[in-house]
Subunit: 287 residues, 4 copies
């Protein structure tokens, strides 16, 4: 099924959307392989509707499907997209000195576990201090950043993203905070990984703070980057138990493992068109 | 939304089912509140289709909906059901000497967490050795069982189920094994709770075997009862970590906690029409 | 082994403590059944030492053991305690209108899972709005609280604790915040249960905030009550996964389950002398 | 603390062992940094005692410590070992065509997360079908195996282990079953990784069987290799939740993730002298 298509959409909820959308596909001979929908009625003022449909177009041309669907979508004021399931997404990976997430992503890419096309790796450190992993043919960009050069460096980052046609930016433990401008620019095309604790901690050396506080569980959160939120819309989270006998160094080590698997899962979900935006939160249609 | 209806159905997969079903509801003015579907393509010979739709009938009468839908269902040879979401299911609970699952179910019933109507409690032990919990007005049936009386006792059990109109039988640590006849009779209307280990253990005192074997994780499985399977179709499972320092008694204690919450979740899912049969396995549409 | 004793101690770390303590017991013919120690070297200025020893006194009288150990303890400036393992701890339970934690504790007490003697239940609501659980012979105190009467009510609470000789106060979803004075009074004899999220939320209706924020994991924390900390030293934590399809009401329901099992585990650990204080955090010697 | 030593021991339990061992170290000026013990009283006939002590020898020579301790150990018929904490263990890794565990181990070795010295990699497939990972200077041995050549190949494997002085053999998804002779030869120096399910499945394609059976949780077990057990003494286990929507291929993918982190944790525990044998099970002293 090399040509399975994925339709994702969201709009204000109204009676008949599912019937219209599935009817649309049926009339064109498309065969639905999987469909998930979610009606969010948690907001008093308006209900929101979300849908993901995987279908076999069985010969119908994608461009005509798109132009036909445009009319239907307009009627319901939908945000929508039709994409080929097997098309690798062009991904730009940003990293600093900790390469565990980078290495993990590249391994999963090579084994076919996540369907990406790594078009660029950007680090604010030289290659030799960033990683000794084998990057193959992936272009590596060393873009150092200082307080003075930050605006300029961010412009260069946007340029690389533009030149490579990156559809997704993954902050694989990139230790620089985006400016509000940069966050707004990449927004929901940019996934970050963040340690997470119960309770949360602000400031430097969070694993040391968590150890100091004696928490019994540590975790990580993969989220979209936004200008106006500490952490943007959450895509995926996971945790591990720890004990008093775990040193701060143990927490860092265990945290690395959680970080890399949470980030990889978020990237996998995103590239499979399984993550839809719902204001400050996400709808995640798992497989 | 006191009158929300739940439509569940399964049939052989064919193009157009979703469009037909959602179109059917749309035409009758029903408003879909939630819909989930699953296309099982794991079997080489035939695809199976499963769907759960919660909808507001907005005035359409349930009996006319049912009679109309019957025609559509016949076309696709569907197994199907339309049920009121808020109708409590008549449940018969069977128990022996361990009452942790019984007590837990009754507490969740009283707090409204699970929507059941407990029509009977059956034990093969007298009330005083079964539980000291407050059973309120729920009829308690003491139906002892010996090798000789087993067939007769099972007949009595069926009689109670029949007389009370029980829609679900919950084996809340009922320590007697159903005969094949009894299993076949209740089948997918009967949920059992079973300890589960990695690896599994047969025979008596499984927690002691698990301790002897030094397992690091223990769990429990809620499943339907079937004549031809060790454990029938699985509804829900959960686990806990243990260590070498946990005695067999600790395992029993921790196991109780897992058992009661796994069974309660399975009952909640069943009574919300979220569990559909798929041969020897289940499709569970979580909320 | 009805007379197993538990020795718990903490002090500044110095060479020879383990040798001295275990030698002390050996010389008196006591037989060590279980021993755990922890050397905390995370503080630059001083190392801390923690130990829990379960031993069979084999005839040695507890009072002479205590008076002999006092000398050794003085040498190392130890905080220490020798207690009979099987003595139930006198526990006072405080509750408001949500009784899931209360009901759970009473069930575990009746089945012998936690070794407590419930000497009083205090609620700021009348019995009929607090719970319809069977409290048996446990005295129930209705101590309502208003802004004006708070100081007075807290005095009454201390009085009940004093009169009943309560060794532990369990806040089983008691919805009033202790004054600093009350927190300081009960301190590490008082366990509270608190919802926990990644990230954390302040203010009212936290489950609704968590839903609004779209978190994928919710949890609960059992901790000691302290005047100077949002949440005091953490004893135990646990979590559950949730999805976008979980409503705020689902979060509340799932949260109840986590809360009750986390609180019960904390009480079990405390009453088994398995929780030692280490400044703002705990050392938890699991079984 | 480059010269921290680890003493591990096990013997029949008798009064005074802890006192004697810790007294022994105290007399020689050694400073205990961490000590854990476990008294296994689950066997009716005899109690077993297990201990792990990390200590700073503060100048005492290791060889004189060893010769002195030998006398004490003889008194109690101890199995014992004194080893330098920071000495990397010589590890031989065996692999077939799935390289996710191999790649993961090598990454953790390079980042210093597990303290090993990889002295050899053996595959029954040529390098090009085994992995495209960068093996650096680690010698790769292609030792194919057929029914006829199995005994001979196993001899070669033993030879490589002997020549390299391998202290640990890691079966990193090595898809050949050891003969009983080979299992007995390597025994508790050989760690294997195994998928695990609730319930368990025998035979080929276990993930497909698990899918067929509709399990809701999959897991992995790291265990020692033994001739007389399906799976030998268990070192570590972990699990993940799955749903009806996970295909057999999804299970394989998720299983890979569990396998690699469970195996890595088992290797980390072993190389830190945290795993002691207790008949058919293990005592695992976590950090």
């Amino acid at each position: 099924m090399a040509d399975t298509l994925i339709l994702t959409l969201s709009c204000e909820d109204r009676p008949g959307i599912t019937a219209r959308v599935t009817g649309f596909l049926f009339e064109r001979g498309c065969n639905i392989l999987d469909a998930q929908q979610f009606n969010d009625r948690s907001d008093k003022d308006r209900d929101r509707f979300f849908m993901r449909v995987a279908f076999d177009p069985t010969g119908t041309r994608t461009d005509s499907l798109r132009s036909d669907f445009k009319k239907l979508a307009g009627e319901f004021s939908m945000d929508w997209k039709i994409a080929a399931q097997d098309r690798p997404r062009r991904v730009m990976i940003m990293v600093s000195k900790f390469d565990h997430c980078l290495v993990d992503l590249l391994y999963r890419w090579r084994t076919g576990e996540i369907n990406i096309d790594p078009v660029a790796i950007i680090s604010n450190h030289p290659l030799e201090t960033t990683t000794d992993a084998d990057l193959g043919d992936i272009p590596f960009h060393y873009l150092p950043v200082t307080k003075e050069s930050k605006a300029d460096q961010e412009r260069q980052v946007r340029q690389v993203a533009h030149d490579t046609g990156a559809e997704l930016v993954v902050l694989a433990r990139y230790m620089q905070i985006f400016s509000d401008e940069q966050s707004a620019h990449f927004g929901c095309r940019c996934i970050n990984i963040h340690h997470s604790f119960l309770p949360g901690f602000k400031g430097a050396r969070p694993y040391h703070q968590a150890h100091e506080r004696g928490v019994k569980i540590i975790g990580a959160t993969a989220h979209f980057v936004t200008a106006d939120l500490d952490e943007g819309p959450i895509i995926h989270q996971d945790v591990e138990r720890i004990t008093h006998a775990d040193s701060a160094a143990d927490l860092v080590r265990k945290g690395r493992d959680i970080e890399r698997r949470v980030l990889a899962e978020a990237v996998r979900l995103f590239t499979a068109d399984r993550v839809l935006m719902n204001g400050n939160r996400t709808v995640v249609f798992r497989g």
